[in-house]
């Protein structure tokens, strides 16, 4: 098994990028999605890009017509349709040899729940698009209801005594389609983030990037702690950073030190002490990591 700890300098990523999301957007302070768009622009400063954005915070943040906070062409699609709209755009752009990349930029509601059939179909057809999910583990735009990405025991407006079931593993679903590239990204590991965006941009076919994206409003956390929470999500092992090629070859990118998850839970109001169960979470983390490490050891990327 090969693991890589963040060692490379991200000065390359700090080169002036384009502003995908410009000033005047309506995102909350500490929004992970804002940071994700920031780093997306840093990673790909030149290529023409189109964003297909299903219903969610990423539509609202653009502001009201006739203004838009997006610095690139964007389409507000219906909730479950981003992958099919993006596929249609890319098919025509490819027919005309247009340069550039077509992205879906969707929250976990659109990705894990309502749009899953559409995403699965686009992945199976290997449509030439990059699907980015900013996963804040909640229906943020409608005020904080559960999604199937919500972790176990998290309190939301529709799970007032904590969510009973564990978080859906969307990566496993995507990997099962044997798509060219799928990776998880953290806003606390920006060099890894930038490299993965560029890796996705360098291949063709269906590519999937899953970004762990803090939502201070929904998580009841301090906005200034967003990046720190993302760092803890990785170091506790709750959000593994890894990438998968063709659905078969695995690479773990950051080996966590398995900080006790209680540290992560205690900084967020969505995990009240009486409900949070760090013991149970630790057990799940160990089981998931055991599985991931076996996969990476048996089917290594390099």
């Amino acid at each position: 098994m090969k693991t890589e700890v963040n060692q490379t300098c991200c000065c390359d990523a700090l080169a002036p990028g384009r502003r995908v999301l410009r000033a005047g957007n309506t995102n909350c302070p500490g929004c992970g999605m804002s940071l994700a768009l920031h780093w997306l622009g840093r990673a790909l400063p030149d290529q023409p890009m189109t964003l297909c954005i299903p219903a969610g915070c990423a539509v609202v943040t653009a502001g009201a017509y006739p203004t838009t906070a997006y610095g690139v062409p964007a389409v507000a699609t219906t909730f479950a349709s981003a992958a099919a709209v993006a596929a249609g755009i890319r098919i025509v752009e490819n027919l005309n040899n247009d340069p550039g990349l077509t992205f879906c930029f969707a929250g976990d509601g659109a990705t894990y729940d309502i749009g899953t059939a559409c995403i699965s179909a686009a992945a199976e057809r290997d449509e030439d698009i990059i699907y980015i999910c900013y996963d804040n583990e909640i229906y943020g735009n409608t005020g904080g209801q559960r999604s199937s990405a919500t972790p176990q025991n998290a309190v939301t407006t529709t799970t007032p005594s904590g969510k009973r079931r564990i978080k859906k593993d969307m990566m496993k679903i995507i990997i099962a389609h044997h798509v060219p590239y799928a990776a998880t990204l953290s806003l606390a590991h920006t060099d890894d983030f930038v490299r993965k965006v560029r890796q996705a941009a360098s291949v063709r076919g269906f590519r999937f990037l899953l970004i762990h994206s803090p939502c201070p409003t929904g998580w009841k956390s301090d906005p200034e702690e967003s990046v720190e929470l993302d760092r803890l999500a990785v170091s506790t092992g709750l959000f593994p950073l890894y990438e998968v090629f063709e659905g078969r070859r695995f690479r773990i990118n950051v080996k966590p030190d398995f900080t006790p998850p209680g540290e992560y839970f205690s900084r967020q109001g969505r995990f009240p002490k009486v409900i949070a169960d760090p013991e149970l979470a630790s057990r799940h983390i160990r089981e998931e990591w055991d599985h991931l490490e076996r996969m990476a050891a048996t089917f290594p990327a390099d």
Partner: protein, 393 residues
């Protein structure tokens, strides 16, 4: 090219020819999903070798329309086909195509919405989509399907209109029966359809957001713009018909068409293939010396209210045959005609709900309706012609 073919084959052939005609511009794209009785259209399109185009078999009608939306905002000519519950599943994106002014053309083979499941013809599926900012054409025959699809592209993509269009026809009665059809040559389609130009297509040099949030004021203005575009359709359609004659040597029916209406006191209003049956009955009664005529309505959105009022000026009795129903109200064509003929107190206007769920509307059934209408002294509530209901009790 004269060919003996099914309605579905004619529709598939013309959709493909229209897509191919855009090969020197941005090409064409379609998303498709099978559903009886439309399936053969998608199969035909999947088998067609486009010079610059792709027909993608997707996982649902919802995504089929989404793919057309993506293709259209990328500047391509776009089309698809569906029926019944497929159209209902597609509905959300049908609205998006209309509201975003994307000139998609949809061949809709009318079929009953289930459950209970029924694959036979009923106009309730497309009529449920009447408020989606799409043009609606209802076709009588195989030839009319072929010709109207070309007219639909021409009008939908016209810069004065830029609205998507539904071209509807009867499941099985037209879709699965064969008739001689004059199918257009590719060179003539190339001549008839100019390159598709979507002025608000994505532009990397001028980033915009399509479908962004709007205020109530801007929403109202947007709806008014759509409505005004709708109101320009009859004139643009007339122009498209004239040019159709120049290229193809025949002129398809327009928004409405009268049959032996000149001195008709009693008029039956019909659409889709029922119009053919009514035509035969009118001929028979005319031979008996009765002053009977027919008004066929082909364009349902925009509803040609003024043309209809004009056409029915001399009528004393009007019977509307509806193979559809808005439950709790009445036949949908009748409802619209009530709106068109408001303030005509002396007119007897009667609705006949018949052939729902694909029941045969035979010449005898039409004659029964005519007898009922002739005997009426005043307008009444919609009249249900349902044999099975009587058997139930």
């Amino acid at each position: 090219m004269r060919k003996f073919c099914t309605g579905n084959h004619a529709a598939g052939y013309v959709l493909a020819a229209a897509g191919e005609a855009n090969r020197n511009a941005r090409g064409c794209v379609a998303g498709g999903y099978p559903i009886t009785p439309q399936t053969e259209i998608m199969e035909f399109l999947r088998g067609f070798r486009f010079t610059k185009g792709r027909v993608q078999a997707v996982e649902s009608e919802h995504s089929a329309m989404a793919m057309c939306i993506g293709g259209s905002i990328s500047g391509a000519r776009t089309f698809t086909a569906s029926s019944s519950n497929g159209l209902m599943y597609m509905a959300e994106n049908v609205f998006m195509a209309g509201y975003c002014r994307l000139p998609v053309v949809l061949a809709a083979v009318n079929r009953t919405i289930g459950p209970p499941w029924n694959i036979w013809v009923d106009q309730g599926d497309t009529l449920a989509l009447r408020d989606t900012a799409w043009l609606h054409f209802y076709c009588e025959s195989h030839q009319e399907v072929a010709d109207t699809i070309l007219l639909a592209f021409r009008v939908a993509e016209d810069s004065r209109i830029l609205l998507p269009a539904i071209v509807a026809f009867d499941g099985f009665i037209i879709s699965h029966t064969s008739a001689p059809v004059d199918l257009p040559e590719q060179a003539d389609v190339d001549r008839y359809l100019p390159p598709c130009h979507v002025p608000h297509r994505l532009d990397h040099d001028r980033p915009q957001m399509l479908g962004a949030m709007v205020t109530p004021e801007d929403t109202a203005a947007h709806r008014l713009e759509l409505h005004e575009a709708m109101e320009r359709v009859p004139a643009v359609l007339e122009q498209a018909r004239d040019e159709f004659r120049e290229v193809f040597g025949r002129q398809p029916d327009g928004a409405i068409s009268g049959y032996r209406l000149e001195d008709a006191e009693t008029v039956l209003v019909a659409s889709n293939s029922i119009a053919s049956t009514v035509r035969g009955v009118v001929d028979k009664r005319r031979r008996d010396g009765e002053r009977v005529g027919m008004l066929k309505i082909k364009l349902f959105r925009p509803f040609p209210r003024h043309l209809i009022r004009q056409a029915l000026k001399g009528a004393k009795r009007v019977g509307v045959i509806d193979r559809n129903v808005s439950l709790g109200s009445g036949g949908i064509f009748w409802l619209e005609i009530c709106g068109a003929l408001f303030n005509t107190p002396d007119l007897i206007l009667q609705d006949y709900l018949t052939g729902l769920g694909g029941g045969d509307v035979t010449p005898e059934a039409v004659e029964n309706i005519l007898e009922d209408l002739l005997a009426r002294r005043k307008s009444g509530e919609p009249c249900w012609k349902v044999k099975a209901y009587e058997r139930m009790f």
